[in-house]
Symmetry: C2
Amino acid sequence: MSVGIVETKYFQINEEMKLECGKTLKNVQVAYETYGNLNDKKDNAILILHALTADAHAAGKHSEDDKKPGWWDNMIGPDKAFDTNKFFVISSNVLGGCKGTTGPSSINPETNKPWGLDFPIITVSDMVEVQKKLIDFLGVKKLTVVGGSMGGMQALEWSVNYPDMVDSAIVIASTSRLSAQAIAFNAVGRNAIISDENFNNGNYYDGKLPEKGLGIARMVGHITYLCEEAMHNKFGRDFKGIPAFDFGIDFEVESYLDYQGRIFVDRFDANSYLYITKAVDYFDLPKKHGSLKNAFEKTKARFLVVCFSSDWLFTPNQSKELVKALIQAQKEVSFVEIQSTLGHDAFLIEVDNQTKIIKSFLRGKEE
Amino acid sequence: MSVGIVETKYFQINEEMKLECGKTLKNVQVAYETYGNLNDKKDNAILILHALTADAHAAGKHSEDDKKPGWWDNMIGPDKAFDTNKFFVISSNVLGGCKGTTGPSSINPETNKPWGLDFPIITVSDMVEVQKKLIDFLGVKKLTVVGGSMGGMQALEWSVNYPDMVDSAIVIASTSRLSAQAIAFNAVGRNAIISDENFNNGNYYDGKLPEKGLGIARMVGHITYLCEEAMHNKFGRDFKGIPAFDFGIDFEVESYLDYQGRIFVDRFDANSYLYITKAVDYFDLPKKHGSLKNAFEKTKARFLVVCFSSDWLFTPNQSKELVKALIQAQKEVSFVEIQSTLGHDAFLIEVDNQTKIIKSFLRGKEE
């Protein structure tokens, strides 16, 4: 069952936002969607927190003839993992994004031109502050936060920064801080964008877009979202046709990455890619709080930590570090490592397993 | 002990080379070095086969004030793993390279300009054919072949194609065929080069070089040569200075990759990078011979297969596949998995372990 036809709404933050970098942002706009209804006690809300390049449109369709539903439609809806018969589900686009929430492609009110690289550096904490304004505006009192990958980082930050509001946190395929290797992959992606002949120091909105650089960044990303086993199963060493003996597309895996790179360019802003990957690189709960145990000291949420055996970008060991610190801080935590051959992407695909686990966890909230 | 001052020599192949792609190459030049002396029976030769971006200069120095010795100097020399008191060690630059052997930056005799992308696609088998001409020219009768990474592919190809000549083969951190993931990383590197604004379809020798693209390719390469553990130990999440809140170099790992990218541009040709990675992608012994066991059927060499526990580019499992097929084909094979935290790069660094293992294996040759 689907949530049906939904609409992206927009919320304007009137007060100035003070950012972690020290700068401020005025007139921040937030794109969001909601599914289901807020109850009278205003305590049945679930905030969906998206990963690197997704948006507020997490479930349902925007029109009858919409080709694709929202990005987590298989998890959100009547009787689904996030059951809209029971819960008021909220999804918003992150600060720095390019899907309706203020970001580097938005108009800088002081110049009446897109911000470009004049947009201030934002952090995961800044993303959460913006979401907090939205949640308050919607009148929510108690909240479940949930997210995969970068979404899990936001869920962690929420539980740490707003302990009285967050009663449950579901952290999927995530970490308290990226590994050096993951930072390295992000650095390559940013380097490819900044090196693109059309990048023009971020001022490309009037001209040609840095398509090649953004495409390369996406190719690198997709390698890390899959894993060798997934790639082997999906493509192996199969050729698209016969060996071409030139530098065009030869192998199926090349064709896949090329396609992913090309379609990404149509839906994502290169500057947003820079800002959001940087926010992810900077995220470091242990450093910010002295230790991960310290970070969790004041949290009041029940935690569910889910990871996938073949995820090498946000590894099971990183999830286990979260669990260990939560236990040290004497917090309630459930942990599941799902056996999967799908790599990091599993959080978007392994619906049945996640549904069972999440439903069971959320039943604790109903009691 | 060093082999001392050495000189790169050049050998010209007078006959036309017929390549695997069907095209031919005239006047192929081969850059090579030799260390130690060929014995009277001409059976004490060891052919060193280099990886992606190395050259003929494997040991010693070119002059007294040379800053760095050859790329495998820690393994080649008197009393070293490849003991030049006993063996006649030969090292040559591969076909398609840019270090003295004919490649895309060489002059096309028909146009008197650099070949660029008019250079024919070459394969690992073509590299071996060129080396065979050199070995015959040097009067060698029996040969040990040895190489790490792409060098191991050449060693395998040698043992399969020239069973009567190769009496020992040492295959280090290598495979009978790349994984889909490794092809994907090579595809990203090629894409970055081809997307560079200066690439000009490979005709950049008169103008600006595709430095940014080649730098990005090298960054991606270095991520795969290390492993997460090595990166964690080397850089962790350390900042170069303080968080800069901009898109410059922030983390130590970014600084390392940026540096590796920039110095690579000074020493390597972007077109050679395209040709050589393509040769590596195409290499597929099982496909060529029906099965890996079939490939080894006619070999007469003793094999030593060495891999490193943390190598995720040329994995221990891939080495074990080689060993399994050799055993099935009833060949003599020794296998060692060296416990290492250095990733694929270990074959250039883990000198002590490799020396012990290789010396022991080569004693079998002396007997």
